[in-house]
């Protein structure tokens, strides 16, 4: 995909259309190779968060670094998407209405379908989060540095996936 439009538009469209890589014109062969390398999905990350603003803002960050991103606005939706068995990593908001992130995690554990999980929360001192934290692969307090998220996900060394679609 090549374009001369503005950065903002490009980013937005790329995210919306599920673009896996972006090459800025003019580009050379090296850039293209890098892009192609990046385009290879590094894994499927499910973002479970009830705040669409947050979800939308983090999607392009992960996508730009080669991850395929799925989203869930509720705990039930998250469980449903996880049941497909294709999710490699779960970015789980601790506090969600109806079915909280903690309950989602417990159900997964009970079902024996745990995937590498990184907890995300705005409540640093939440007791239950503290208890759950050591079992998961990390805890990020909002507003966290996206670079930290990328480091945490990168350290999980997820299997390179086939394209889900």
């Amino acid at each position: 995909m090549m374009t001369g439009y503005s950065v903002e538009q490009l980013v937005a469209q790329a995210v919306d259309n599920g673009a896996l890589g972006i090459l800025r014109k003019p580009f050379n062969a090296a850039d293209l190779l890098t892009a192609v390398d990046n385009v290879k999905p590094r894994g499927i990350v499910l973002i479970a968060d009830d705040d669409p603003l947050f979800t939308e803002s983090i999607m392009p960050v992960l996508a730009a670094h080669g991850y395929h991103v799925e989203t869930a606005g509720t705990g039930e939706e998250a469980l449903q998407k996880l049941s497909s068995g294709e999710i490699d990593c779960l970015l789980l908001d601790v506090r969600m209405p109806v079915l909280s992130g903690i309950e989602v995690y417990q159900r997964l554990r009970e079902a024996g379908r745990l995937v590498p999980t990184i907890l995300v929360t705005g409540h640093a001192s939440d007791e239950e989060t503290r208890k759950l934290c050591p079992m998961t692969q990390g805890l990020l307090i909002k507003p966290f540095d996206p670079a930290a998220l990328l480091r945490a996900v990168g350290e999980l060394s997820l299997p390179a996936h086939r394209h889900p679609r």
Binding site: V7, P143, P146
Partner: protein
């Protein structure tokens, strides 16, 4: 008086013995009087009878003499001899007497001499025999019993008084020759004495017994009265003595003691027991003095006035208190109660009442008051703490909700800034500075939220025993101080273990170091010329540890200093004003205290004092 026992008691009493003595005297007196009467009566009787007998005898002798003379002158030898005349005369005389008042007159001859009638009994014969040997025989008289009858007998000697009579005899009895004035025989006159003596005995008995009974009765009556009086007096004395003993016993064992004042309000009596002796209230020197002479302190002028007014008005008074020293020189509190005393005529006689050592009560009252005050203060403190906690708890919930709500969009902004930065870098756009500004703004927002959460967070501290110096060193090591600032450590509490919540106290250290750093960097470049130094000092003493943070910053203005612990007060445009309030909150949660001292141009010193272990206030809170 009833019962043999009472009679016995009476006889044994003083009155009884006096009565017995009196009865003895009565008996003697009665006997004396009776005997006197008896003697008098008898004398009167014998004198009377004697006179009568002499008269009778003289008459008989006169007739016989006359007869004898006439017989001789006439020479009438044939006429009866005078003795026969005398015998007939006597016989006629005896007959003339009445039966009741008889006088038995006899003339009896001397035994052995045949003349007249021989003696009728031995007593008579003995008397005549006695007359015959006596030089000057005298008549004799006496009572005797003759033929079963009591008689009063008088015997008179009879002499040959006339020559004619002697001649006559000698003529008739020549073998028995008489001389003139020779004893011939005797006249015996018996007067019956039986009825008289019988009546005299009866009279004497009557007089004696009557007198004895009358005097004895009067004596008995007097003695019984006396005895009763004595018994009553003894009983009264006994009761008095018992009452006194009882009073003394009560006074001795009581913790109170008793006192009396006379009509002039001079102290006249103080009962003795251990307490009163110990308080020197029984000292003899105090007797005779007024209260104000021995009681000088422990009351107000008003109390003295009220008490004096009571005394002047002769009113009872209660709870008059004063102080005095005891024998050991210790201060004691004494309380008096008293009432006026009046005699039966209503005259004021003084006061009497009780005294009590109330030192222990006073001490208790003071102690109680102190404890109530202490407890009230404690409760007030706890209540204040609870209110503060509740307020913070409400604020905390509110803050937590807002913080969470803010952190979500803040996170979205940060993510977006990150994406923009990456894209800009890829495109070679020069957006570094605006993006960095954005990033700083986000961080400031985040810190504000964190400060608010920290300040409003209410949770019980979780104490852990830690070596203070070591722990503090580690926390300081983690702090990123501006390069210009020098950190000095002056630790003097090695191996001192402190019970504290490391996470919370870490916030204290961070905030204080942060404040100092800010102050030291503010002054950097200013004309102070002093090295920007932060000195952290520790020490331990008296169950407390002290942490001091001294900086060489510009100091805090005196008008600002009192406000530094007020929430939301800040001298910095970007400060939240929650740093020091949070510090104080955490320190106080640990039962400690924080003080801040500062001088403009010289620096600021913050002193945190913490107890080594949990305090009572903290445990009860």
């Amino acid at each position: 008086m009833g019962g043999a026992r009472e009679v016995k008691l009476f006889l044994r009493s003083r009155a009884g013995s006096a009565f017995l003595r009196f009865m003895l005297v009565c008996g003697l007196l009665s006997a004396g009087v009776t005997y006197g009467f008896y003697r008098l009566s008898l004398t009167s009787f014998t004198a009377n009878k004697g006179e009568e007998k002499i008269t009778a005898l003289q008459l008989v002798e006169a007739f016989v003499a006359n007869y004898s003379n006439l017989r001789s002158e006439l020479g009438a030898d044939k006429a009866p001899v005078p003795a026969s005349f005398r015998a007939h005369s006597i016989e006629l005389f005896n007959k003339a007497r009445d039966a009741d008042n008889v006088l038995r007159l006899r003339w009896v001859g001397r035994p052995g001499h045949f003349i007249g009638t021989p003696p009728t009994d031995a007593a008579m014969a003995d008397a005549i025999e006695a007359f015959s040997v006596e030089a000057d025989p005298r008549p004799r008289a006496g009572f005797l019993t003759v033929g079963g009858q009591q008689v009063f007998r008088t015997i008179y000697p009879s002499f040959a008084s006339q020559q004619s009579c002697v001649d006559c005899h000698n003529k008739l009895q020549p073998e028995e020759h008489w001389q003139l004035a020779e004893l011939m025989g005797a006249f015996s006159i018996d007067a019956p004495a039986g009825p008289f003596l019988h009546s005299l005995y009866l009279q004497c008995l009557g007089i004696g017994l009557g007198l004895f009974a009358a005097m004895g009765g009067i004596g008995l009556a007097i003695s019984v009265l006396h005895y009763r009086q004595l018994a009553e007096r003894e009983a009264a004395q006994g009761r008095l003595k018992e009452s006194e003993t009882r009073f003394r016993d009560f006074a001795e064992v009581s913790s109170d003691w008793f006192w009396e004042q006379d009509a002039n309000l001079h102290i006249s009596f103080v009962s003795e027991n251990e307490v009163s002796r110990n308080l020197q209230a029984t000292n003899a020197s105090q007797l005779g003095k007024t209260r104000w002479e021995i009681v000088t302190r422990g009351f107000t002028e008003e109390q003295r006035r009220v008490h004096q007014a009571d005394l002047d008005a002769r009113r009872p008074f209660q709870r008059f208190r004063f102080q005095r020293d005891n024998a050991d020189g210790q201060l004691r509190h004494v309380e008096l109660n008293g009432k006026p005393v009046f005699d039966s005529a209503g005259r004021f006689k003084g006061y009497r009442g009780t005294a009590r050592d109330i030192t222990a009560e006073i001490a208790n009252e003071i102690e109680l008051g102190r404890r109530v005050e202490e407890r009230t203060a404690e409760l007030r403190l706890i209540q204040g703490e609870l209110l503060r906690k509740e307020r913070l708890s409400t604020l905390g919930q509110f803050t937590a909700t807002v913080a969470h709500e803010l952190r979500n969009p803040l996170s979205a902004i940060r993510n977006t800034v990150f994406s923009i930065a990456e894209t800009a870098a890829a495109r070679g756009l020069k957006l570094d500075r605006p993006l960095a500004r954005l990033e700083r703004s986000i961080e400031r927002c985040d810190r504000l939220i964190a400060d608010l959460l920290e300040y409003t967070r209410v949770r019980e501290i979780q104490r852990v025993l830690l070596p203070l110096d070591e722990w503090l060193g580690e926390v300081l090591d983690e702090q990123k101080l501006p390069e210009s600032v020098t950190l000095k450590r002056d630790f003097a509490a090695p191996s001192v273990q402190v019970s504290l919540d490391p996470e919370r106290l870490r916030r204290v250290v961070i905030n204080l170091v942060d404040n100092a750093s800010q102050a030291l960097t503010e002054v950097q470049g200013a004309a102070s010329g002093r090295e920007p130094v932060l000195t952290v000092i520790t020490s331990a003493a008296g169950g407390m540890v002290r942490l001091r943070f001294d900086d060489t910053g510009p100091g805090i203005a005196p008008d600002v200093l009192p406000k530094v612990f007020d929430p939301l007060f800040s001298t910095r445009s970007f400060g939240t004003g929650l740093g020091l309030p949070t510090v104080r909150q955490i320190v106080e949660q640990h039962g400690g205290a924080i003080e801040i001292a500062s001088e403009v141009g010289h620096g600021t010193s913050v002193l945190v004092t913490l107890p080594l272990v949990a305090t009572l206030t903290e445990l009860t809170a």
